[in-house]
């Protein structure tokens, strides 16, 4: 039986849904949920379900950090950036106070130093070349983009190289995480976090108005931003930490490298307690991997429910090279920068950690360079 004949009956010229890939996405999710439940880990199953919801929400809202940042930098349009801030504000309402008050919960924190700045800057270049960030790569791969399959593969490879580079960059120095709730308490920390988000929103609107560009978020971005924010809170409740994406890629890359005979266990990064545990244990024991798998299959289910899945032709070679280079840069940058738009920017700011804003300030100029490099690969600057 051909794959085409497994698609749903066609109505007119277009099939209404793709039964094969809908079944694959739902079946794969069900298998992973069952495996975690058999291990007696309902919170792990919840993380897969939360990731599934995020995949659906991102795909349906067409929520793109990469395109939003590019539209702001090239045209001054601020709606997408403000949609991203809605996500952070909703998430912060739960994360800042709960992380400060409940011992089993923690925020996304990270040291401030050259590693963070260099990593975020390089990530910014990569995300514009790949045309997707950490979460964007996941949901577009899940949504049927073969180009982003290439980006994901190289993201994993780059993040393994990043794991080998990170200890050297940390040795350059830095200061411990700066967390608002440490100085102002849980509620003062929340107020300061929301004020910082409001200030950033005000500055972004000011820039947009000065450039004569639209600053109002679309309906999709408002509804999608609230929905994604609520799902971030759900993932935080299930996993005990804000949603993160890219550590999962590092674990997948390292496990693949180990299977190919490369011994990473002696590398300094992989001797730290957390990474060491992740390398030795089941991939379903890692919170980041669980939400990643859920998001991939959630986006796949949402895409297959609406039209034939992965029906497009492969893009030109130059575009595929851009995806690979961008993936490599993002992977390396994400490890040095302590995450991507989600783990570092959304998670960091929503935790009241200063590193989230530093990450944003360093990634934005990286994006500007990435945008200027896009035409070399046949991609538009818009």
């Amino acid at each position: 039986m051909s794959t085409a004949s497994l698609a749903a009956p066609r109505s007119g010229a277009a099939a209404r849904f793709d039964l094969l890939f809908l079944a694959l996405a739902l079946g794969a999710s069900a298998i992973l949920v069952a495996l975690t439940l058999l291990d007696g880990a309902p919170a792990s199953a919840a993380l897969i379900v939360g990731g599934f919801g995020l995949g659906v929400a991102f795909l349906k809202a067409e929520f793109s950090y990469t395109a939003s940042w590019r539209r702001f930098l090239t045209r001054g349009e601020a709606g997408g950036l403000l949609g991203g801030l809605i996500v952070i504000a909703v998430t912060a309402l739960a994360v800042v106070p709960v992380a400060a008050l409940a011992p089993k919960f923690g925020g996304a924190i990270a040291p401030l130093g050259p590693s963070l700045i260099v990593g975020a800057f390089v990530f910014g270049i990569g995300m514009q070349l790949a045309n997707g960030c950490g979460s964007g790569t996941l949901y577009t791969v899940g949504g049927g983009s073969g180009r982003m399959l290439i980006a994901l593969l190289f993201f994993c490879i780059g993040s393994v190289f990043g794991s080998l580079s990170l200890p050297s960059f940390l040795a350059l120095g830095g200061i411990d995480p700066v967390l608002a709730s440490d100085y102002l308490g849980p509620w003062g920390g929340l107020a300061a976090t929301l004020a910082s988000i409001a200030l950033a929103a005000g500055l972004i609107v000011l820039v947009a108005r000065r450039r004569g560009a639209d600053y109002r978020p679309s309906r999709n971005y408002v509804i999608g931003g609230v929905a994604i924010g609520l799902l971030c809170v759900f993932v935080f409740a299930a996993g005990g930490h804000p949603w993160s994406v890219t550590f999962g890629y590092t674990v997948w890359g390292a496990k693949a490298a180990s299977a190919l005979g490369f011994d990473l266990s002696q590398a300094p990064f992989w001797q730290w307690a957390g990474p060491k545990h992740a390398l030795e244990s089941s991939v379903l024991s890692d919170t980041s991997s669980l939400t990643d798998f859920g998001m991939l299959f959630g986006a796949m289910a949402a895409a297959a429910a609406g039209k034939p899945f992965a029906a497009n032709a492969w893009p030109p070679l130059k575009s595929l090279i851009a995806a690979g280079v961008g993936g490599l840069l993002m992977g390396w940058g994400a490890r040095l920068g302590f995450g991507c738009n989600i783990g570092a920017f959304v998670g960091g700011v929503a935790s009241g950690s200063l590193h989230g804003w530093v990450w944003f300030a360093a990634a934005l100029p990286g994006c500007l360079i990435g945008i200027r490099l896009r035409p070399l690969f046949g991609l538009s600057r818009d």
Binding site: T3, A41, G144, H241
Partner: protein
């Protein structure tokens, strides 16, 4: 062509996840590197002050 690539990726990927899970120790509850003592970042990196 892309559909066939996707079918292969999903089936092989799922098989790899299940095989890796069944052949590796599992601690039950999933953990993040931040759950371990001394972690100062989502990847488990130590704090500069601890060096």
């Amino acid at each position: 062509m892309m559909r066939k690539v996707y079918i292969a990726v999903v089936v092989l990927g799922l098989a790899a996840i299940v095989t890796q899970h069944l052949s590796s120790p599992s601690s039950g509850r999933a953990v993040s590197p931040e759950d371990f003592a001394g972690a100062c970042a989502p990847c488990g990196a130590p704090c500069p002050s601890k060096k």
